[in-house]
Amino acid sequence: MIVLQEIRNLLRLYAQQFKTTFASMVQYRASLFIWMISQVLEPLVYLIVWSTVSNSSGGSVGGYTAQGFAAYYLALMLVNQFTYTWIMWEYEYRVRQGQLSFALLKPVHPIHSDIADNLSSKLITLPILAVVAAGLALIFHPTAAFNWWAGLAFIPAIILAFLVRFLLEWTLALSAFWTTRVNAINQVYFILMLFLAGQIAPLSLFPHWLQIVADILPFRWMLGFPVELVLSRLSPAQALLGLAAQSTWVFISLILIRLIWRAGVRVYSAVGA
C-alpha cells in the first residue's frame, strides 16, 4: 500500500510539473522558437553536406544515397529531440545561485522533477519538430527500408536511449558541485557526442577502430543506434546486442548517479550555510 501511495504522489508531482513547464514554455515562446532553429539547422547542414558528397561520388556513399542520408538525418533530428536534455547548463546555475537548496528540502529526489520537466517540454516541442521534419521530407525525399520487427524494437530502443542520455547527462551536470568550468566539460562531451553518436556522419562511414570505440562508449546508444534501427540498417542480432548495451549503460549510470550525487551534496554548501 505504501508503494502505491508513493507512486500516486510521484504521478501528482509529474502532473504538476507538466502544468508549470507548459506555462513557462508558452511564456517564453520566442526562446523556444530560436532554440528550435539550432535543433533543426545542425542535422540539416550535415544532411545537405552528405547528400552533396553522395551525389558527386556516383549516387552512394558507404551504402547511403542522398535520399538515404535525408532519412538518416531527419530520423536523427527527431530522436535527438526525444532524448535531448539541457540539464548540464541548468545545474551550474542552480549550484552557483544556491537554488539547489530548495530542491534539497523537498521530500522527493530532485531528479524526479527534472525528468518530469524534460518529458513535459517534449510533449510540446516534439510535435512542432515533427511538422518541421515532415516539411523537410517534402524537400529532400528521404527513403529507407522498413521492417516490422525493427519498428517494434525501436520502441524500447528509444526509451532506453532517453534513459541512458538523461541519466548520464544528469550525472555529468553534477560536476557543477566541484568546478565552475562546466562549459569546458560540456564542450568535450558534445564533441565526443558529435563524432561517436553518429551526428557528424553515420557511424558506418567511420574507420573500423573508431566504430569499436563507439560501440564501447555510451554515445552511440543514446542516438545513433535507435536511428540505424528504425531505418532497418541493423540485423536482428545487432539490434539485440544494442538493446543489451543500452540496458548495461542504464545500469552503470544508475550506480554512477547514486555515488556522485551523495558525494556532491556533501560538498555543496549554499551561501549562508
Binding site: 526562446s31 539547422l41 547542414v45 552528405w50 558528397v53 556513399v61 558507404g62 563524432f195
Partner: protein, 261 residues
C-alpha cells in the same frame, strides 16, 4: 585617429581586467583548440569519401574554415560583448553614463567591452587561413587577395550593422537577447560553402540573417569564385546596412528616456 585611440584605450582596459583571471586564457585556449580540431576532423571524414565538396577542394575548404574562425573571433571579441552590454544598459538605464561622454555614443557602445581571449580564435583563424594560402599557392593572385580583404571588411561591416540594428530594438522592446542568439545559431551554417544549400536556405542565410557575407563570400573571393555583381552587391549592402543601423540607432536614442526621467 581618435577612433583608433579610443579602440586602443578600451582594449587596454579589457586586457587589464582580464589578466586578473589568467586561468581563463588556458580554458579558452583548450576550448578553441577543441573547436578547431573538431572542424578539421569533420573535414577529414568528409574528404575521405570525396575529392571535392560541391566543387570546393580540401585546401579551399580549409580557407573557409580559417575565415569562419577569423570572423567568429571578431564577433565574439568585440561585437557580441558590446551589443549585449548595450541591451543591458538600455534596460538598466546605465546608458546615461555613455551618453554624457564627449564622443560618438555609437562608437563608445560598440567598443565598450572586449572579450580579449577571443583573440585566440582570431589568431587561430588567421593561422589556418595562412596555411590554406600556402597550400593554394599559385592560384591566389593579387586580385584575389585584394577582393578577399575587401569582402572581409564588407562582411564585418554587414555583421556589425546587423547586430547593431537588432540590439537597438532594445530601445523599444525589453527582451531582445533572443534575437541576437538567432545569429549565433545560424552562424554554424557559414562553415560550409553557401552554394551547397538549396535556394530557400541560401536566401535566408544571405538576406534574412547575413551569414553568407561573413564567411562564404570572402572565401569565394579568395578562391576566385566571386563575380562582379556579388562584389558590388556586398559593398552596396554594407553601406546600406550601416546607414540603416545608424538611423535606427539615432531613432532609438530619441526614444530612450534614461533611468529616472
Amino acid at each position: 585617429m581618435n577612433t583608433l585611440r579610443l579602440l586602443y584605450i578600451f582594449f587596454r582596459v579589457s586586457v587589464l581586467n582580464e589578466t586578473a583571471y589568467r586561468v581563463n586564457f588556458f580554458v579558452q585556449l583548450f576550448q578553441s583548440l577543441l573547436e578547431l580540431g573538431t572542424a578539421l576532423a569533420g573535414l577529414a571524414v568528409i574528404f575521405s569519401y570525396t575529392q571535392s565538396l560541391g566543387g570546393w577542394h580540401p585546401d579551399e575548404m580549409l580557407a573557409l574554415v580559417g575565415v569562419y574562425f577569423l570572423v567568429g573571433g571578431i564577433i565574439s571579441l568585440v561585437i557580441q560583448p558590446g551589443m549585449s552590454a548595450l541591451i543591458d544598459s538600455v534596460r538598466d538605464g546605465t546608458l546615461d553614463f555613455t551618453l554624457t561622454k564627449p564622443e560618438d555614443a555609437q562608437l563608445l557602445v560598440s567598443i565598450q567591452r572586449m572579450a580579449i581571449w577571443s583573440l585566440l580564435d582570431l589568431l587561430m583563424g588567421t593561422g589556418v587561413l595562412i596555411t590554406a594560402l600556402v597550400l593554394l599557392g599559385q592560384t591566389v593572385g593579387v586580385g584575389e587577395a585584394a577582393q578577399f580583404i575587401g569582402m572581409l571588411l564588407a562582411g564585418a561591416v554587414i555583421v556589425y550593422s546587423f547586430w547593431l540594428i537588432l540590439a537597438s530594438l532594445s530601445f523599444w522592446f525589453v527582451r531582445v537577447e533572443n534575437l541576437l542568439q538567432i545569429f549565433q545559431s545560424m552562424y554554424q551554417a557559414g562553415r560550409w560553402p553557401i552554394s551547397l544549400y538549396p535556394g530557400w536556405l541560401r536566401f535566408a542565410l544571405t538576406f534574412v540573417v547575413p551569414v553568407a557575407f561573413a564567411t562564404s563570400v570572402p572565401a569565394e573571393a579568395l578562391t576566385g569564385r566571386l563575380g562582379g555583381p556579388t562584389l558590388l552587391g556586398a559593398f552596396g549592402l554594407a553601406i546600406l546596412l550601416f546607414a540603416i543601423a545608424r538611423l535606427i540607432w539615432r531613432l532609438g536614442l530619441r526614444h530612450y528616456s534614461g533611468a529616472s526621467a
